[in-house]
Symmetry: C2
Subunit: 185 residues, 2 copies
DNA sequence: TTAATCTGTCTCATATATGAGACATACTGC
DNA sequence: GCAGTATGTCTCATATATGAGACAGATTAA
């Protein structure tokens, strides 16, 4: 076992819960190559596991996005790297955004800070897009919100394509081509 | 009650299961404005309900796509209407494709015909894209598969945008703009 | 009105998911 | 080898989800 079991379980949980939010913990254990009993040694129950997943996703996504945002002062480069960051985070990115846009998503006392950080990241991404619009480098007809949603959509599409077994190196190029053209860049 | 209860339940189930595949039937009943006991009067259990959902989605998506494909002989018009068909079907489209691309999706004896029809629809959509590529009207660098996946991704993005409360008439324009540009049209 | 149907509430039985104790085995570093 | 940790199997208790019967009130059609 190269990675500690705890981390293996969290990553399996992210993959499983992203596909099926109410899936039994048995499936998570199965995917992690672990008994459910072992899973319970590390996590009291579903709730705690979900909190750990959220933390893990948050950390991964934050680091990746942070790097993308500081990679350059050119918003086009920033945007391209934001896309790649999402693709690299894979299911973590997809599930992370899903969690924070759930209709029943409420800010629990302990996680208010996490949500604030999510909102902050979201705002910084929006700023990149807004700047591109102000500079007239992307289509002025599209709302900022649409551009951000499309970014997420292309990321998810890329993840989906990767799952169906597509050639990895080209996928990023397809993704950036479709996204950049799709926002009129 | 304008619609029969059975149909109300099926549509609620599609909305709920699309978001959370293993959600308890209680949630479906709740969303349908019905007691779980009432739900059980119409459907023996989860399995039967899912079969009915599949049938309903299949019918809706088939009709919508059929109309899009026969709307014109120009593949560009066909493609645009395919996009709108997906958007109009909403969650039905999203869940329908999700069901048929699940890793554990097996062709049960009674549903082999349904899957065949799905594959047929898929093939006809692919043919439209392939024709556009042969005629050199869209980017030759993108695989047919990517174009189809992107179509689905833009549909889902549009559904998501609609859910967050965006101006409906413009959404279709954004969707078609981003998709058509995104495939180099 | 009467009969038939639809719908909801109560209740219970069963199935499945979840949580945990006890203990054996395997592997680790010392 | 030995102690400590990680992991697995067995077992059981509890919680939740599911399925169904009995029956009452509402609605509808004749």
């Amino acid at each position: 076992m190269t990675r500690p079991t705890e981390q293996t379980i969290v990553e399996a949980a992210i993959l499983v819960f992203n596909e099926d939010y109410s899936a039994p913990l048995e499936k998570v254990a199965e995917r992690a190559g672990v008994t459910r009993r072992t899973l319970h040694r590390y996590f009291t129950g579903r709730e705690e596991l979900l909190v750990c997943c959220a933390r893990d996703m948050q950390r991964s996504c934050r680091e990746a996005l942070e790097q993308a945002l500081t990679s350059s002062t050119d918003p086009v480069v920033q945007l391209e790297n934001m896309l790649y960051a999402g693709i690299d985070c894979g299911a973590k990115y997809a599930f992370f955004t899903k969690l924070h846009t759930r209709p029943d998503h409420q800010h629990a006392p302990g996680q208010a800070a996490d949500c604030a950080e999510y909102d902050d990241l979201q705002a910084r991404c929006r700023a990149v897009v807004a700047r591109l619009q102000q500079e007239g480098r992307i289509s002025p007809h599209l709302p900022t919100e649409w551009v951000l949603l499309l970014l997420g959509g292309v990321v998810k599409t890329t993840i989906e394509a990767r799952a169906t077994g597509a050639t990895e190196p080209h996928l990023r190029q397809f993704a950036w081509f479709s996204f950049s053209k799709g926002i009129g860049l």
